[in-house]
Amino acid sequence: MSSRRSRSRQSGVSTEITDAQITDLVSKLQQLIPELRARRSDKVSAAKVLQETCNYIKNLHREVDDLSDRLSELLANTDSNSAQAAIIRSLLM
């Protein structure tokens, strides 16, 4: 991965990825991260955006794991009636 960007510069013709493109993508990513959304994009470095992105994804993974834990318990304990009620409710809304 280390030579990816330099490789694209060397080949020149078809695999050129412009800096503007990258800046654009990085700023779009920044808008998604709650931590960085409020800050101006020219004040946040790409490294910072990437760092916070990684942290954010790890947090989301952890949340999903916790929720999986919770759901596995809830679904084991709950009787079929309330589970069906939940489905019906969800379908109606």
């Binding site: 991965m1 493109q21 990085v26 994804i57 999903v64 929720l67 759901l71 084991a76 969800s90």
Partner: protein
């Protein structure tokens, strides 16, 4: 929508490595500008927003609940099947990936990965992040500068490991995938949170309609 069976049953190990072939250029409904053998979507910026819609979350919750009840109803042999939370996580990820309808690399990678195995005997591998703290060039010994990759490169590598199926992706494509993946994960959290609250008996009906993340 993918059938219940296709989501629950793991596929055969695919001979087709999704990371090296790029059939998306032709079959993908999104307009993709071909740059060499790598593609950059022309309007990828808007795609990830569909994860925020209420209907998307609704559909996901319904499919997830159906899948989970099916999965947890089976009585698996405890020696070979993973724990229940693990199975729930696996199912939740697969239903999420199915909702992407094959448009993204991360979703295709999830759908082609095998089900979790009870690996009590295997040593649990630590995540790569535990290896070395990223401190930049501040760590210098004896005045000699250690040769390190630039910060952006290092963090890009970490990111590529976090997003499924994206280890060998170009930087722009990786960022695209990450953008979509994050939106999808957020929806997954919203949906599962609302489901949990509903099943716990305390949730109001509005709980399923796009709660914001805490």
């Amino acid at each position: 929508m993918a059938s219940l069976e296709s989501i629950i049953n793991a596929p055969e190990p695919s001979t087709n490595n999704p990371e090296t072939t790029s059939p998306d250029a032709d079959s993908n409904p999104n307009k993709r500008r071909k740059i060499g053998h790598r593609t950059v979507a022309a309007d990828a910026s808007l795609n990830h927003l569909h994860w925020t819609s209420q209907s998307e979350q609704q559909i996901y919750s319904t499919n997830l609940l159906r899948t989970l009840r099916h999965v947890l109803r089976r009585n698996p042999s405890p020696s070979t099947t993973a724990s229940k939370p693990r199975q729930v996580r696996y199912a939740a990820d697969r239903v999420l990936a199915a909702a992407a309808k094959g448009r993204t690399r991360w979703s295709r990678a999830i759908l082609s990965s095998p089900p979790p195995f009870n690996n009590r005997r295997m040593l649990h591998k630590k995540a790569p992040a535990a290896r070395k703290k990223v401190t930049g060039l501040r760590s210098m010994r004896n005045g000699t500068e250690k040769k390190k990759l630039p910060a952006v490169e290092r963090k890009t590598r970490v990111l590529s490991r976090l997003v499924p199926g994206c280890r060998k992706l170009s930087f722009p494509n990786l960022l695209e995938e990450a953008t979509d993946y994050i939106s999808a994960l957020e929806m997954q959290v919203r949906a599962m949170t609302a489901l949990a609250e509903l099943l716990a008996g305390g949730g109001s009906p509005s709980g399923l309609a796009g709660e914001s993340l805490s």
